[in-house]
C-alpha cells in the first residue's frame, strides 16, 4: 500500500511549489489513465500499463535509482552491464509499483503536503498520507533537476529510503554470491511481478 502513495500522495497535496507541481502533473495523468473507462477493460489493461510506464519514465530517473541502489559496485561493472542492470531493475520496480498502486489505490483517505525544500539542483518534497484506517504515514520524495524537469531518484516512506533498502540488499547479495547471480535473480523476478500485476482485476 505504501508504494501507492508514491503516485497518489503528491497528487492530493495543496502546495504550489515547483518540484511538487511537476510531480503532481504526472500523478494527475496516471490517475486519469486509471479512471479512464475506455482503458478499464481487460483487453486494454496492458495498454493502460504501458501508458503508466511512459508517465513514470518521464518523472522517475530510473537510471539514477538503479545506479544509486547498486552503490559502490556500480563502478566495477562494464558499460553494457550497467545498461542491462538499469533496464532490469527499473522494469522490476515499475511492475511492482503498478501492482501495488492498482491494488491499494482505494485505501487512501487524505494527503497533506508539508512543504518543499530546494538546495541547488536537489529537492525534497514532504507529505503525510492518512489511510481510511486513520493511520498516518510520512512520505518524502527526493528529486534532482534535469534540465527543466524535476525527477524522482528516491522515496522515503516512514523514514526508510527505497534506495538505501536496495543498496543494503545488493551489498548483502554481492557479498555472498556473484553479480551474475544478482542479475539472474532480477530476471527471474520480473516475470513474477508482471504476472502478479496482470492478475489484478480491472
Amino acid at each position: 500500500m505504501l508504494l501507492a502513495v508514491v503516485v497518489v500522495g503528491v497528487n492530493l497535496c495543496a502546495c504550489a511549489d515547483e518540484a511538487t507541481d511537476q510531480v503532481r502533473a504526472t500523478t494527475d495523468k496516471i490517475l486519469a489513465l486509471m479512471a479512464d473507462p475506455a482503458l478499464n477493460y481487460e483487453a486494454h489493461i496492458s495498454e493502460r500499463r504501458q501508458l503508466i510506464r511512459k508517465e513514470l519514465h518521464q518523472r522517475v530517473d530510473w537510471a539514477m535509482v538503479a545506479r544509486s541502489s547498486l552503490g559502490h559496485h556500480w563502478a566495477k561493472r562494464s558499460r553494457a552491464e550497467q545498461t542491462e542492470f538499469v533496464s532490469l531493475f527499473s522494469r522490476l520496480l515499475e511492475e511492482t509499483f503498478i501492482d501495488k498502486f492498482e491494488t491499494h489505490q482505494g485505501e487512501l483517505a487524505k494527503v497533506e503536503c508539508l512543504g518543499e525544500k530546494i538546495i541547488d539542483d536537489y529537492a525534497s518534497v514532504k507529505a503525510q498520507v492518512t489511510t481510511k484506517d486513520q493511520i498516518v504515514h510520512p512520505v518524502e520524495y527526493r528529486l534532482h533537476k534535469s534540465g527543466k524537469d524535476w525527477r524522482i531518484y528516491d522515496v522515503l516512506i516512514e523514514g526508510v529510503s527505497l534506495v538505501k533498502n536496495y543498496r543494503d540488499q545488493f551489498d548483502e547479495i554481492l557479498a555472498k554470491s556473484s553479480y551474475e547471480k544478482l542479475v539472474a535473480d532480477l530476471r527471474a523476478k520480473i516475470p513474477q511481478a508482471v504476472a502478479v500485476a496482470a492478475s489484478i482485476p480491472p
Binding site: 545506479r67 544509486s68 547498486l70 552503490g71 559502490h72 559496485h73 556500480w74 563502478a75 538546495i119 536537489y122 489511510t131 484506517d133 486513520q134 493511520i135 498516518v136 504515514h137 527526493r142 528516491d154 522515503l156 516512514e158 523514514g159 526508510v160 529510503s161 534506495v163 538505501k164 543498496r167 543494503d168 551489498d171
Partner: protein, 157 residues
Amino acid sequence: MKKAYLEFVVGLFLAIGIGCLAWLSIRLARKEFFTRSGYELQAAFSNGTGLRRGTPVVIAGVEIGRVASVGLEDYEAKVHMVLQQGVVLQSDTIASIKTKGMIGEKYIELTPGASDKTIKPGGVIRETQPAMDLEALIGKYIQGNLAKPDDKGQPPR
C-alpha cells in the same frame, strides 16, 4: 616489619590505581586526537534521536570517525562529524542512524554510493535516513491490524 610490609602493599595498590587512571587518560586523549586530526563533514537528519558528541561513524562496521557536535537547525538535527583522512565519500553516500541491537548505542552508518563526484572536506552529506521510531511503527502495525475487517469481512469492533 609487618607495618612496613603493609605500607608497601597499600602503596603498590595506589600506584596500580594511578597507573590505570593514567592509561585511561592516555587512551581517551588518543581518541580525542583522532577526532581532531580528520576532516569535517555535516549532515542533517529529520530525527537525530540518540546522537551526541562522540557517537561513532562507521562504514561496513569499521569506525572511521566520530560525531563532533549535534545541534538544531531549521528544525532538523544538524550533525558535524570528523572522519579520518583518506576516507573518500561519493556524493550519493547515504548516512543513516542505526542502533547496536534493539536498544543499544546509536551510531551513524555511511553507505557508499555510485556517483563519480565526491564530498569535499567541509561539505554536506546530502542523503540521510533518520533514526527509526520503532515504537511508532509497531503502534501503526497494531492499529492497522485492529482496524482491518475480520476473516468474515465484518468491520472491526
